[in-house]
Symmetry: C2
Subunit: 408 residues, 2 copies
């Protein structure tokens, strides 16, 4: 059957990691693998009431097809919510998408031909890597520092692409508590990346799933709000700030031409996003308030993150160059293991010890990162986190000991 | 900003028809334009109860991410429902999609490179044309007879493609009450098209949104059920048999390799379909029964279709070569106007007379069909249908008279 496949899928293969992580559904495994939001953060009582009422009384609307652009009620609610965040947009600047992963798919469709270049972090979000790969986009990795994407390395990579005669189209950034690393892009670097984008006439794709989950430190303005020539396209998903099961996000651009291309791409992609789900989110925003909800759920994540950094301090070997991020928000902590430790190889042994994580290599588009791993603190309790990190530290310690023995 | 666009969107432009049809949202216009299912056919009382209970009691599941393949409960319910229809499948043969439009997007992604050929009817579903165009697929139109796709023309088009050295990948068919024409593919032709597909090693994409809305005549087996070498991939949407607002469909293939490519494509496209919506549909199927529901809603469409064909008989000029289809199911009647009448040009005048339809030309991939139009009977009452067809007949009569005057 291979003769039927397109070039874009015939290269790819089923992820071995994904298969391994399926094992982590066993109840005795403590999994830091999936990037799932905490279910106790879902406003389910309110959504149940809204769903009942909307379906019962407004069925001819919410159970019907909607416009490709999205529900006016939802877009208007979003406009109202964003204004105090310094993001000044109109309803027409917004496209409702079937969650942000679809937003990435539409960006690929609207703006990239095969071989065009996108710049992204080393590491970057795995789902974005998958979307870019499916469209045969040339993913050029840029080093991440502790304060986000290295501007020097970005300049160097741009120079290389120019020398090679490549067509550069955009920069993909997750400025706040990046997936997978938890790293936040500094204000100064946001400014400098925008300047580079302007100079090189690149679009900037600002993916912002975690920015509203800040539980410590100072907020940094979004790149969209700092952008003076409308080259930033922002994606804001409901998955982490409300719940993931609605599959709902909003894509924002102030350029009608870009919006037009995105709308046409979406029409061919799924016609429209579920009207029911759009109304659930809109009514929740209007009747209960998303900011009030965020106030309630941030402490849930703060407690879990503290449990994890405390456990890492307590159990993880402190030498051998092991280090980790301590993000002020989001869902993820990133761990660098000693050079020579392969976190993908180690995963099988970790699962034997009833703990799991995501090996980092797949999130490095340049093939590096084998000694890294992503730990999600969002869907375990503080006690589970403590026990899980203890198990993981034992696995890491054994791994390092084996390497030392092996090198004798 | 045009320099930012991909080739696939830079050719396309916003549809003038789509803009015109936006005018039809005015309440005094009788619109036969949109292919919307009848809202009175939505099982809203039951869905409201299910939604309340699922969100309240099962929130950690239904408001969370799901697997890319889709909910087991839904796929199992679908297996049970299909078995009496002669469709013997397992859970693993099914991929839940964000409605059938996404199914088309995934087919394009998994199986087509730019320039590969797909065969489709003249006319065919506009959403499919848009999806194929976005992937720069070579759409080769095949004549439709009263009993569906012409086998002779299909053979001729295959010979032409071979002579031109093109790569042929698949045949796209909507066998039952096709959108837009309402035409049904005969049993004999289903068999012959399958034979041709086997001989030429083509995939067959069987889009089946309307087959379960048959309200008269004899059922014809699906091509999937007649397929002996697993080259048919079937799409079955919930949009017409339950409601459109859930954005839910199931894609079926008995070939694990093809399924694997589709799953990988879907993962990069939207990760997963809304778990909530999947559970609404699954619980409805299990607790209330889709067949019982279909028994209730078929008479709604039968009455509307009869109102429309009666009104066409009564009001439409009977000479000049005007004719129309009289489908035993589905949502659409297709009208051929006299040669020389351009239904797209006529639409503006129809809207002035407070009636609307979809001009046919956009559904012909070879640029023909200017004298055709699609009338949807699904979302008007019988009285509105009678009045609307009366208005439309006046517009057509005036149009023909003007042509005669113009040609003197």
């Amino acid at each position: 059957m291979k003769q039927h496949f397109s070039k874009r899928v015939s290269g790819a293969k089923r992820s071995a990691i994904r298969e391994l992580l399926k094992l982590t559904e066993q109840p005795d495994i403590i999994s830091f693998g999936g990037g799932l939001p905490a279910p106790e953060s879902f406003p389910h009582e309110e959504l149940a009431d809204i769903a009942y009422k909307e379906i019962k009384e407004n069925y001819a609307n919410v159970l019907q097809y909607g416009t490709t652009e999205g529900s006016r009620t939802l877009r208007d609610a979003f406009v109202q919510w964003l204004a105090p965040q310094g993001i000044d947009v109109k309803r027409e600047d917004m496209l409702v998408t079937t969650a942000s992963q679809q937003g990435l798919d539409l960006l690929c469709k609207a703006f990239f031909d095969p071989g065009d270049v996108i710049f992204c972090g080393l590491p970057t979000y795995l789902g974005a890597v998958q979307a870019f790969s499916l469209f045969q986009i040339d993913k050029v990795g840029v080093q991440l520092d502790d304060d986000g994407m290295s501007v020097d390395d970005l300049e160097a990579k741009i120079a290389e692409c120019k020398a090679a005669g490549k067509t550069m189209k955009g920069i993909y950034v997750i400025p706040d508590f990046q997936n997978p690393s938890g790293i936040t892009l500094s204000l100064e670097k946001r400014q400098r990346i925008l300047e580079i984008a302007r100079r090189e006439d690149l679009l900037v794709f600002e993916d912002n799933p975690y920015g509203h989950l800040r539980f410590a430190g100072e907020e940094i303005p979004s790149m969209y709000s700092m952008d003076t020539d409308k080259r930033v396209i922002m994606l804001v998903t409901f998955s982490k700030v409300m719940c993931a099961g609605l599959r709902l996000a909003v894509m924002i651009t102030g350029q009608p031409d870009l919006m037009d291309a995105l709308v046409r791409a979406k029409q061919a992609t799924d016609l429209c996003t579920s009207k029911l789900n759009q109304h659930l989110a809109a009514r929740y925003m209007l009747d209960y308030g998303l900011d009030q909800h965020l106030e309630k759920i941030r402490p849930i994540y703060r407690e879990k993150r503290e449990a994890m950094t405390n456990a890492l301090e307590r159990y993880m070997p402190q030498d051998e160059g092991i280090r980790w991020t301590e993000p002020d928000g989001g869902l993820f902590i990133w761990v660098w293991l000693p050079d020579g430790v392969d976190s993908a190889e180690m995963l099988g042994r970790a699962i034997e010890h009833k703990v799991a994580y995501v090996p980092g290599a797949a999130t490095y588009v340049d093939g590096s990162g084998h000694n890294t791993m992503r730990l999600s603190f969002s869907s375990s309790t503080p006690d589970q986190i403590d026990e899980g990190i203890k198990r993981l530290a034992d696995v890491v310690r054994a791994e390092i000991a084996a390497k030392v023995v092996g090198s004798l």
